[in-house]
Symmetry: C2
Subunit: 389 residues, 2 copies
């Protein structure tokens, strides 16, 4: 059987993630694999736990990475937080809020939702009323909703959770590393993320942290965890105690370690500011082309911009041309936003001037060819100005 | 915050896995990340499904890799195969048979066990009686038990499952690529493996295949899958239909593709023969040193050899000296075999003469220094002879 060499393109990844990976992180992948019980590997894990605490801004002992992608982290947090019959309040204003509902239901939780239209932030007043009525054991919310580009009001919801003695579960898949997230200060009990967005590693791991208060309450529950693979307490026994659980991917750990190291060298505050600057420049460029941004100004994410596809333009054709002619990936809309928006991410190694200017130039050119927009490079000019010191 | 460069050793990995990774597979890790919905990536997945069918020797449509390690594959197979209240018969004669029980219980299955002492194969007669008494919906068994080095009688158990119209679930974590496993011919309904043993990739993915007959029966069940992340039908919709499920790790897929390509280039039969030869040579060398092999001859695995630790020798000290003085990892015993056996794997890129001779030479030297064994290189001589054509 003859199978050819792998031949793939080197894309500029400006969709909702994965983003391009820094060469330092790519080099880390070449580190020879260590056994999952090797003392050297256990030392790498111990150090990485400390680094992840720095990234999450937490002191939580239970801070580690689940051996799967962000969706594995979501499920690990959910199977940990609830047992069948528990009441859970899920804030839903997009695809990933809906996924949280789905996963919590599969855990046997009795789910109530607080909804906002896709593209709008959750209204804390709605959460307050629902929490008062339902007395949920858990409130779950997405920090940066990847399907809409909207930042949800975590601090307000945290205060409500606290006042009702409910645990707060936060999806930080798109948030972590891109916008301010301070797990302890914000009062978050369980939070998970991914590696391939604002942290700057390849996909494959899911950093998670759980507060001591949450762990104490979870320990008191009557049933065991429905998942073995995603059992966070068992994972902690391995990460910090060397009790065999599963064979960790040393390769993925090396990459995550290098990415977390880069985050901490840069400083989380500087990293958030870099994403803010790149996102604002992208948004200035898009508006100067004549496009309309989808998420409202006051809750607009910098690292993931949603933009309305212009009337009369074949949006799939534009994405296809970006990919084929310019080797650039951007994201389509999900669910009810399919065909109505594009999702453009500037995350991690892409939250710099070059990727932004390249995208704006290519998009401006394609749209002009499709009969839309202002010719003359207004978009590039605006984005370039936004990067000026 | 200053964190140093990653500094780790380049071990010879002769434990129960991970094994060392071929340079071709390591190079594949450097392939630039593609988006999980990029047409180029979907083509890679489609091709990989065909390659995995070749590795498993199956025509099953549902043949893919779960985004997690072998334990994730185990859980994916279990949540797919059973729903709460289903009767499952688990053959247990080691650590991973026990884990199968644990995972099936967490799925709500009513588990009955057929046991054999750790180190002995399951007796098909016991399975026959238990199946007749319990009428299980599922029979689960480990093909190559990693904790004991024993090969279990899959064909016999498959015939029993067929005669009772039960599904057969097989753990092939240590088996796949190392000993003959022909999923269709053997009548296996669900089988999962890992990447870091006889397939020769880094840990991080779990190849899985499910028969059409099993899928038809599973479709008819009353409840949905308790897991979202490990829902194999949803994963198939993504792998073969592009319906977004989670962000696959392109990096891990590239590595698995190259490893699977190497398997198919070599041919599964040649690969099994290579493991057989390397394992036999290792075993000849160990016996010539004066050590006693733990697994009985007739069910002894070639790719994972268990050997009794000699009386009067500090087994942990021997492992520690192998690691520190020779940079070689071997495995300790698990559970009741802790301190009683070593587990030595010659898998994938290590199923060749050099790793075997290096281990035998180092172990022979250390044991002689600890007052055990026959001096004069009898072990190396025996292992070397075993590699002669």
């Amino acid at each position: 059987m003859t199978i050819g060499d792998l031949r793939t393109s080197d894309r500029l990844l400006l969709g909702p993630g994965p983003a391009n990976v820094d060469p330092r992180v790519m080099r880390a992948l070449q580190t020879p694999v260590l056994g999952h019980l090797d003392p050297e590997f256990m030392a790498v894990l111990a150090e990485l736990m400390g680094m992840l605490r720095g990234v999450f801004e937490t002191k939580n002992e239970l801070t580690l990475a689940v051996s799967g992608t962000g969706s594995a982290g979501m499920e690990a947090a959910c199977v940990t937080a609830v047992e069948p019959g528990d009441s859970a309040l899920v804030c839903t204003a997009g695809y990933f809020g809906a996924r949280l509902q789905e996963v919590l239901k599969r855990c046997g939780a009795l789910v109530t939702t607080v909804e906002a239209p896709w593209g709008q932030p959750i209204d804390p007043e709605d959460v307050r009323k629902a929490a008062a009525a339902k007395k949920p054991k858990l409130i779950a919310i997405v920090h940066a909703e990847t399907s809409t580009g909207v930042r949800h009001p975590i601090e307000d919801v945290a205060a409500i959770a606290k006042s009702h003695d409910a645990l707060l579960l936060v999806d930080a898949v798109t948030a972590l590393g891109g916008i301010p997230l301070r797990a302890d200060e914000m009062g978050i009990d369980l939070v998970y993320s991914c590696t391939q967005k604002c942290l700057g590693a390849p996909p494959g791991m899911s950093p998670v942290t759980v507060s001591e208060a949450a762990r104490n309450r979870i320990r008191a529950r009557s049933r065991g965890n429905q998942s073995f693979y995603l059992d966070l307490e068992a994972l902690l026994s391995y990460w910090s105690g060397g009790t065999y659980h599963h064979t960790m991917s040393a390769t993925m750990i090396y990459a995550l370690r290098e990415a977390a190291r880069m985050c901490l060298e840069e400083g989380m505050g500087s990293r958030w500011a870099r994403h803010e600057k790149a996102g604002k420049a992208l948004q200035a460029g898009l508006e100067a082309i004549g496009l309309k941004l989808f998420a409202p100004t006051q809750c607009r994410l910098p690292q993931l911009t949603t933009v309305e596809t212009p009337a009369g333009v074949d949006e799939a054709r534009v994405r296809c041309r970006l990919l084929q002619e310019f080797n650039i990936e951007i994201g389509a809309g999900l669910g009810p936003l399919r065909g109505k928006i594009w999702r453009i991410g500037v995350m991690g190694a892409n939250a710099y001037a070059q990727p932004v200017l390249t995208l704006i130039a290519a998009l401006e050119g394609i749209l002009a060819g499709e009969g839309f927009g202002f010719p003359g490079g207004a978009g590039v000019a605006a984005a370039t100005r936004a990067f000026a010191p």
